[in-house]
Amino acid sequence: MNSTFLFISGLTLGAGAILGTVVIAGAQLTTPGPFTATQAEAGQTIYGRSCYACHEAGGEAGQLIGPAFINNWRSRTTQDLFRRVKDTMPLDNPGSLSDADTASIVAFLLEKNGASPGTTPFTSATAVQVGTIVIGDTSNVLRADGGQTRSGSPSAAGRAANGADAMRRGMAPLVTGITVSGMVNKYTAVTEEMMEHPPASDWLMHYQNYLGWSHSPLKQINVKNVRNLQLRWAWSLDDGERQQITPLVHDGVMFVSVNVDNKVQALNAKTGDLIWENSLGPRLIGVENATRTMALYGNHLFYPATDATLYALDARNGHIDWKIKFSNFGEDKIGGLMIADGKLIAGLGRCDEPVAEDRCFIAAYDVNDGHQIWKFWTVAYSGEPGGDTWGTMADGTRAGADAWIAGTYDPKLKLVYWGTGQAKSGKNGIGDKLFANATIAIDVETGKLKWYYLPAPDEGLDLDEVFEKVLVDEGPQNILLTAGKKGILWKLDRTNGRFLDYVPTVFQNVFTSIDRRTGRATYRSDILNPQPGVPRTSCPAQSGGHNWPASSYVPEDDLIILPLEQICVMARNMTGNYEAPASDGYLGRLSAYYAKTLKPAWTLQQRAPFLTSSMTTAGGIGFVGDWDRTFRAFDVKTGKTLWKTRLGTTAQGFPVSYSVDGEQFIAVPTGYLGGSPEVRPDTILDLERNRPTVGHAIYVFALPEKQ
């Protein structure tokens, strides 16, 4: 049966449309899908109970209705989809869905993505190419529900859909290549010496230094004069999709990137003038992805495109020197990116399908030509160290352990420290599933594992322990501090991974005990053994606790300062996000702890969560931005706000500080789309705050210019 459908604007559907159907302009469907209407209807109920909390109200998992689904599944079969759901979902208890329930969910997803029900029931054996059932030109697909399934009230979500999608509809096809030619006049090649001792005027890498401090040695701006900060310049970035970048600065040049169309730009860091621009492409449509890190070394700027292509650009003019395809599978992306020991090291993210082709890893590459030097698989297979920790699971069915956050490096120990996400297949109780949900130390020269630390196996709530590994020396002791989504700040000996101490930084109720000797934690019994249909709480929610907005370390005061969120989630039946107990309605928390003792120094709470990293300077001030567009400077010793301003939209990404011609600048990116740290607060704050749904940009502040 061929049909032609009218293109329907999201504006016309209004508040009544929930989980609306995607319609495609001028599309012609082929045959009815191999499922029944009864199955699809049952699937909607099951999806709402078991899947909605993460996929639609959460933001940390791919949205399954719309362009992202079509892009990802067009060439694959319905049987692949069945197995994906059956073997890996729900995340906290993979394999627990019956065949009948799984078939119903598949039927629901196919229908909601444009397939028509037929008379033949869907079964586990049904293998039809998805693209023959759901077809369309994804560049022009508009979520006909006005984006309501994303989050928030109909008006807010509709505005979001209209803002970004309307712009995409009006956009000309992306022109790729050098779109603005230019040359950086004076550019000093970045050396290993510079990386180990970064010039104070630069922000050479994601965390400012190898140790993960996000701390600038500059002190021209200090507690006394920060109140005089003024906007010096702003630079708009293309709107659409997530934007959570770290501007890099070297020799007075700021390098930024635009997520939606993989555009890389070099700006004059003093004036904001564009020097060169390379539109690498592709243009992202409805795919959950965020580029947070780039890297500088030699004369190269390394950029991880959202289609998992790793580019080496000439930092002086933006031309491509070399490129490699990091992964060809599904929605895989390049997660963390860093330079260490003169090598380019990157981790694979979104590698969460239980097939051998999608095995997660961290790898090192030659900066000059991109050839691989070593690879460390974060999912252990049989016969490898850790390979006996996945029970009886066949190698190709082991999934997860994404390396989606950039690591840190100790040049003396020659170790790089990374975190991994949780396992994404395998039932609870079969083993530690190494090296998922762990902190790992890898020999930078060989890629061999030195040690790992795993707080608890069977992490099935998406509460990753993957985030920044902050390296601090306490006299002769070399320690590593890291906080995962549960908000527990762990302290380890970074020479051998030995657990030293911990402190909870927010309320959490997923662990009931932590062994003080080993750091091994125990989950609540109902988390390890979830009962179908029984509501289950997780505090924090998948937004964390702590998440990708990184902490900063202030060496002058031995303080680690963490941006935190205080949101819980209820799954099954009573699905959704709520304020954590004892949070008193404060979703946002900024807390400082003494690294040596893990004793609390100060904490600051507010309604809106913080969505930038904490960035501190030797001037005794820190900077952080939040969901509600406020960017502030605070006294690192007390947490007192010394200055603040409102930006065009959510402050989101990694603020940096640098200097040019002796003048210090503070830069902060803004962006309004994101994963769970942005989506979950949205469901709580949607009727209180109205945020603009455009406004990706860089804002740069400085003290008043001297006359």
Binding site: S153, F511, C539, L604, Q605, D682, D686
Partner: protein, 181 residues
């Protein structure tokens, strides 16, 4: 260890001052001093579809005297009139569980709620573990509109005002590997 013959007499004679001491200790022990509890009450879970129905905010204070638990709270901003309120006992702090007592409530979009109940020993333990919560239902959210888990009395932070040192964070962790009751 008392000598059975002589010590019985000794124990009997010595029981009077001992009994008095025990009574004195029981009366004056912390278990019998009133304990203050408090909770902010905020919206029940919101998923992006129910925001308009699940609105409002409130607060509650409570006092535990022995096993007598007295609750009083206020609320405002509901989308529909409140219908009923309950004390509930969750499986964990932040988790849900059955209603254990009904509370009186103003059946309006703003008002008060409260009641005085006698807790069982298990319920007292649950209170001290942060598992007792108040749940308000309304016409627009009949299965939960506002809720909050009782915490021991503590200083509430003002927005945007830093707190020094040991601020309050509920902690359910044990460190001997024994889950809390």
């Amino acid at each position: 260890m008392l000598n059975p013959k002589r010590d019985r007499t000794t124990a009997k004679l010595s029981c009077r001052p001992l009994r008095a001491a025990v009574i004195f200790a029981l009366v004056c022990s912390p278990a019998f001093a009133s304990q203050k509890y408090q909770t902010d009450i905020g919206p029940t879970p919101r998923d992006g579809r129910n925001s308009a129905n699940v609105q409002g905010r409130g607060a509650a204070q409570a006092t535990l005297n022995g096993s007598n638990f007295t609750v009083h709270g206020t609320f405002a901003g509901l989308a529909g009139a409140a219908t009923d309120a309950h004390l509930c006992m969750g499986n964990v702090m932040g988790g849900t569980g059955p209603s254990i007592y009904d509370l009186k409530i103003t059946k309006a979009q703003k008002g008060e709620f409260g009641g005085a109940v006698t807790l069982t020993s298990d319920q007292v333990l649950a209170l001290n573990a942060g598992r007792i919560y108040v749940l308000l239902n309304s016409q627009t959210a009949p299965h939960g509109n506002l809720w909050g888990w009782f915490q021991p009395g503590h200083l509430v932070a003002k927005p945007d005002v830093p707190q020094d040192g040991n601020w309050y964070i509920p902690n359910i962790l044990t460190e001997q590997g024994v889950p809390p009751s």
